[in-house]
């Protein structure tokens, strides 16, 4: 029999739609890979916070020899040291989404581009609005992802005549987004577009707009490529004609790339940056995963 290879996967716990998607894809990858390659053991562990993730890394490393670690870090700064420690034992390190502050630690890096998510949305929006108009923005939970998206968005908008009327936290929560949008609507008589930074929140925003009966709002956009929103894009929805992918399936890709080296292929190394192209009615099909919970 072959020697058993262990791939540990450390990801955030499913606290909202997108992280839920990550957990789903990681567990899918685990099932598929373990079924296909009996010599590979994939261990998926979720953590509700950065602290807990560091603990989980310690526990995983203490309990067995890890051949590879696939990690979606909560934050770059906080996880860099602990991952470095795991690497010191000879583990192959694959980092997903957020790079560590010391890139030398990462053998493989599958990068999401949160800045591009914001920037691409902003560019499209500016174009559609003719560089004019009022937008309101809903942001998520105060974390790096959220921060980068907002940064990407505002940098682009600053170069236009578009005014950002307001930015408030809605914690990537549908409900809070609904409430916040209702209040935006009460506060601002003229809103041309809304950007919700995440499709979960977008659903709440759309409900609030629909209920208010306001008609001046031309666009309400989200991000992340949630399947319900992609359905809307595919159907050519007037208010939400585009989305930006930030597919939680990137974790699955990374796990597969890592698993490759234990099935006889040469190890994949280096940086793979996922682009954040606009999802439009034309290309929506390829971003649509009807079985994913997200």
């Amino acid at each position: 029999a072959q020697e058993k290879r262990v791939i540990a996967v450390s990801i955030p716990a499913a606290t909202h739609g997108w992280t839920g998607g990550v957990v789903y894809h990681a567990e899918q990858a685990e099932k598929e890979i373990e079924a296909a390659f009996p010599n590979i053991d994939v261990i998926v562990k979720t953590s509700p916070s950065a602290t807990a993730q560091v603990s989980a890394l310690e526990d995983l490393a203490a309990a067995q020899t890890l051949d590879a670690l696939v990690i979606l870090p909560f934050t770059s700064e906080e996880l860099t040291g602990p991952v470095e420690q795991v690497k010191a034992a000879g583990t192959f390190i694959a980092v997903v989404d957020r790079g560590l502050t010391d890139p030398a630690i990462q053998d493989l890096y599958v990068a999401g581009d949160n800045i591009a998510v914001g920037a691409n949305t902003a560019k499209w929006l500016a174009e559609q609005l003719g560089n004019e108009g009022n937008v309101v923005v809903l942001r998520g939970i105060p974390t790096v992802i959220d921060d980068e998206r907002i940064q990407g968005f505002t940098e682009v908008i600053e170069g236009t005549n578009i005014e950002i009327l307001d930015i408030q936290y809605a914690n990537w929560n549908q409900d809070e987004a609904f409430t916040l949008m209702q209040d935006y609507l009460a506060k601002y008589p003229q809103i041309d577009a809304v950007w919700a930074n995440d499709d979960d929140m977008l659903l709440g925003v759309l409900e609030a707009i629909r209920e208010s009966g306001r008609t001046e709002i031309k666009y309400a956009l989200g991000g992340n490529g949630m399947k319900d929103v992609i359905e809307m894009v595919m159907a050519g929805d007037a208010m939400t004609p585009i989305s930006t992918p930030y597919p939680p399936s990137m974790i699955k890709s990374a796990i597969y790339m890592v698993a490759g080296q234990f099935t006889g292929q040469a190890p994949m190394r280096g940086s793979f940056k996922l682009d954040a192209p606009l999802i439009t009615p034309e290309n929506a099909e390829q971003f649509y995963f009807p079985d994913s919970p997200f």
Binding site: A14, T15, H16, G17, T19, G20, G21, V23, Y24, R139, P142, D166, I167, Q168, Y169, N171, W172, N173, Q174, D175, F178, T179, L180, Q182, D183, Y184, L185, A186, K187, D200, L203, G204, E207, E211, S212, D228, S292, P293, F294
Partner: protein, 327 residues
């Protein structure tokens, strides 16, 4: 001896200024709102705010029972998410055979599930004799995990065909009063009736005020407290019933941190956390105060988005301080 008898004739009931505290605080917050932003008083905004506060208010009425009987329930937020999830799954399953009636059936199932969740909490606390804080912290984790598991971390949306017939339960109105507001009023009236006008209410206060006295007076403290938790569960289910049509889905974030809002509403309303006193109407005022403050945070332009939570915290503390000094 005559003096004693004379004074025994029932005098006028004392007016308690202290009991007016929450309403005065509400008035102050509303006034502040009017000064901060003129659109605060617009019909839609007021309707929005009041309607939105329905969930917390309804759950908080249940919490008033639990707290005044000497308990505490931290699980209401997760329970809300769990019950919502079960209801949607049930409605979706029943829809093919029952059509629109699936909503009614699902609501019924929700009430039963809510009551059972409450019963679970109640039994752990009374039969298991575990500090309510810890017991319901445990079930909070359990309910939250269950909804996450049921939804695979994503969301459980209600069937499209049910959305339209179900919509009015949140968005509709009767004679201009939004349905959730009417529901809240009904819940509060029933709650106030039970607490102030029935034997059970008396027993609740006794159990919360001094459990030994209650026991020695033949009141089954365990039964009374368990019942309070069941009532809490029912209130959660009622809130869930009018919550579903709003966004049409249950997610792992549904109802997150509502437990804190609910408890805050109850305490701002004048119910003491150590039990023995219940102020149902105050509780409603408390829920409104919280919602109005949140609304004002968005409507005003004075506060950095980062500091909203700080300002809310400060306002709540100030409101409680004001309340103290009115006394």
């Amino acid at each position: 001896m005559t003096a004693a008898v004379a004074s025994q004739s029932a005098g006028p009931r004392r007016i308690r200024w202290a009991d007016m505290g929450p309403f005065i605080a509400l008035a102050v917050v509303v006034l502040a709102g009017v000064m901060i932003n003129s659109s605060f008083l617009s019909g839609t905004n007021i309707a929005n705010v009041v309607t939105r506060s329905a969930f917390v208010a309804i759950i908080a009425v249940g919490a008033t029972f639990v707290i005044s009987s000497g308990g505490l329930d931290l699980s209401v937020g997760s329970m809300m998410a769990f019950v919502t999830g079960i209801m949607i799954l049930a409605m979706n399953r029943l829809e093919p055979s029952m059509g629109g009636y699936a909503i009614v059936a699902g609501a019924g199932i929700g009430l039963v599930v809510g009551a059972l969740c409450g019963l679970l909490n109640g039994l752990i606390v009374t039969v298991g004799k575990i500090e309510p804080f810890i017991a319901t912290l445990g079930t909070m984790g359990i309910f939250r995990a269950l909804i996450t598991w049921m939804s695979d971390g994503g969301s459980i949306p209600i069937e499209r065909s049910l959305r339209e017939p179900y919509r009015p339960v949140y968005f509709g109105d009767v004679l201009g009063i939004p349905v959730p507001v009417i529901l809240t009023l009904v819940v509060v009236l029933v709650g106030a009736f039970v607490l102030y006008r029935t034997k059970y209410g008396r027993r609740c206060m006794a159990a919360g005020s001094n459990a030994d006295v209650a026991r020695f007076s033949g009141v089954s403290v365990a039964k009374v407290r368990t019942t309070a938790f069941v009532i809490q569960g029912l209130c959660v289910a009622i809130a869930a019933i009018c919550y579903i049509p709003r966004l049409g889905a249950a997610t792992p974030t549904t109802g997150q941190l509502w437990e804190l809002q609910v408890i805050t509403a109850v305490v701002i309303g004048g119910t003491a956390l150590r039990g023995g006193k219940a102020r149902v109407w105050g509780t409603v005022a408390g829920a409104l105060i919280l919602e109005v403050i949140a609304n004002l945070m968005v409507l005003s332009n004075m506060v950095s988005e980062y500091l909203v939570a700080a300002v809310q915290g400060v306002i709540i503390i100030l409101a409680m301080l004001a309340h103290r000094f009115i006394k």
